[in-house]
């Protein structure tokens, strides 16, 4: 029990550090969130659509916007550790790699949830959607957020330190998130009343995906940061 508390305490240290950096630099709030809203606006312009069409496609457009913005957030999260020898300091700090991973993923998760909340507001205002099942919306949003944050943190660490990080990250991360995109979109279809599907079954799939990615990420992180 004491070990678990210490493990989570270590993770909290890292998460709090990342969130403190974000609170002071405001990169996600000032740049990533506006970018996500911009994507929603661009979809609206490109589809040249009335509210009915936008409502039908809102869940898919929402999650594409989240994934594209998540790339930026993950990139930011990984680059924070690249400057001033931070990664070496972290390696020598004695923090277990798995709690380091959980801490970083938790920080990205908090930022993604904030982003999702703003984007749902965007859907309500710009696309005129109505929330039919708020509980499902929140649970699916949180679980998909966990999956995206964990996978993003894993691949962020994987691509970090490489000269081609910016271009490599999307092609590594996005295919892996394909099931999350499908699951989250379908769950939102149900929650927003866009299609008659069983959103809770999809939420179960999201839970499995979130669990798998988090466990794999926590296990693999040690291998990735030891060099």
């Amino acid at each position: 029990m004491a070990e678990l508390r210490r493990f989570l305490g270590d993770a909290w240290l890292v998460a709090a550090r990342d969130l403190r950096i974000e609170a002071r630099s405001r990169v996600v709030v000032d740049q990533v969130v506006p970018f996500a809203l911009l994507v929603l606006v661009l979809f609206g312009l490109a589809l040249d659509a009335d509210h009915r069409t936008l409502r039908t496609f809102a869940p898919g457009l929402f999650w594409v916007a989240v994934l594209l913005s998540a790339l930026l957030a993950v990139h930011r999260s990984a680059s924070v550790d690249q400057s001033d020898g931070t990664l070496d300091a972290l390696r020598m700090s004695g923090l277990p790699p798995s709690s380091l991973f959980l801490g970083k993923a938790a920080a990205v998760f908090v930022q993604l949830v904030l982003l999702e909340a703003v984007l749902v507001g965007g859907l309500l205002v710009l696309y005129g959607v109505e929330v039919v099942d708020p509980v499902l919306l929140v649970v699916a949003g949180l679980l998909a957020g966990v999956a995206v944050a964990a996978a993003g943190t894993l691949y962020g660490a994987l691509a970090s330190g490489l000269g081609v990080r910016e271009t490599l990250l999307p092609i590594l991360l996005l295919p892996v998130l394909a099931p999350v995109l499908i699951g989250a979109t379908r769950a939102f279809d149900d929650a927003l009343g866009a299609a008659a599907v069983d959103g809770w079954a999809w939420t179960g799939l999201l839970a499995v995906a979130a669990l798998v990615v988090t466990v794999v990420g926590a296990l693999a992180h040690g291998v990735l940061i030891e060099d």
Partner: protein, 277 residues
């Protein structure tokens, strides 16, 4: 002696040449069987008496089906080798994982292309969104395209091999999730169920398909063998160039004291000079 040196410049050996020749002959026999000796897939509808079936498009399957199965074999091999990289940390497993992933991706691309060409006359579409196997294969292809892109980056080869191993294992673990999600997504598939156990398949058709497995298996083994040897030589060349650079750098510093200062053993040439004086 010259002959022996020449032989060293190739990745071929007596065994691999035999295998390659057998593969070529096998492909030729497969071509004759698939295009000449076996007939088109024509079935008569039991009630209306109309002709239906895949007609000549069925000939594509003698390539498509074995390639799809061997693609999975390659990726499985890559996953096993990736575990080997993480556990044993030897270059052998790393080169094996890279070779298997590359050959598997070539097969995966060919499976998508041949499937698409076959699907045009039979399903009346190049691409069907929502077909489980199509989507799963496409995502698999994209994930391993990312894997190969990672492999192309420069850096510490040992660190790169571990990162690549993680990518390969995540890709393999992700596939059941992709498969499940697409299955629920549309809950339908245009792919027919396996009819290998079906007695209606004529003997020659079945034989041609089995020959396809055998021949393409040989081609796969041949490709893997050569890709592995090229990968091994690449690694050796990298090690060699690093070693050569170190020797060159040392030669620039002729002062023997410099060697002593950094604790390196004196190079042989310097020792010889010292003996003469």
């Amino acid at each position: 002696m010259a002959g022996r040196d020449e032989r060293r410049d190739t990745t071929g050996s007596r065994g691999s040449r035999l295998l390659g020749c057998a593969g070529l002959v096998g492909l030729a026999v497969l071509g004759v069987l698939a295009f000449v000796l076996t007939g088109p897939d024509v079935r008569i509808h039991p009630t209306t008496g109309e002709e239906f079936g895949q007609l000549d498009a069925v000939r594509m399957l003698y390539l498509h089906v074995p390639m799809a199965v061997l693609m999975y074999v390659s990726y499985l091999l890559c996953a096993v080798a990736s575990v080997g990289v993480l556990v044993k940390r030897t270059p052998w497993w790393d080169v094996m994982a890279h070779s298997a992933a590359e050959v598997g991706t070539v097969l995966c691309g060919l499976v998508l292309v041949t499937g698409s060409i076959w699907g045009r006359p039979v399903w009346n579409t190049w691409w069907e969104w929502g077909d489980v196997r199509l989507m799963t294969t496409l995502v698999l292809f994209l994930m391993f395209a990312g894997y190969l892109a990672l492999r192309r980056t420069t850096g510490d080869p040992r660190a790169l091999s571990r990162r690549a191993a993680v990518v390969a294992l995540v890709a393999v673990l992700d596939i059941p999730l992709v498969n499940r999600s697409v299955e629920w997504w549309e809950n339908r598939t245009l792919h027919q169920q396996s009819t290998l156990g079906d007695l209606k398949i004529e003997d020659l058709t079945l034989f041609t398909l089995m020959l396809g497995f055998l021949v393409l298996g040989m081609v796969l083994a041949w490709l893997l063998l050569h890709r592995f040897r090229v990968g091994w030589l690449e690694r050796a060349a990298l090690d060699y160039s690093v070693a050569a650079a170190i020797i060159e750098r040392r030669a620039e510093t002729s002062d023997t004291e410099a060697y002593r200062a950094v604790g390196d053993p004196m190079p042989d040439s310097q020792v010889a000079k010292g003996d003469q004086s």
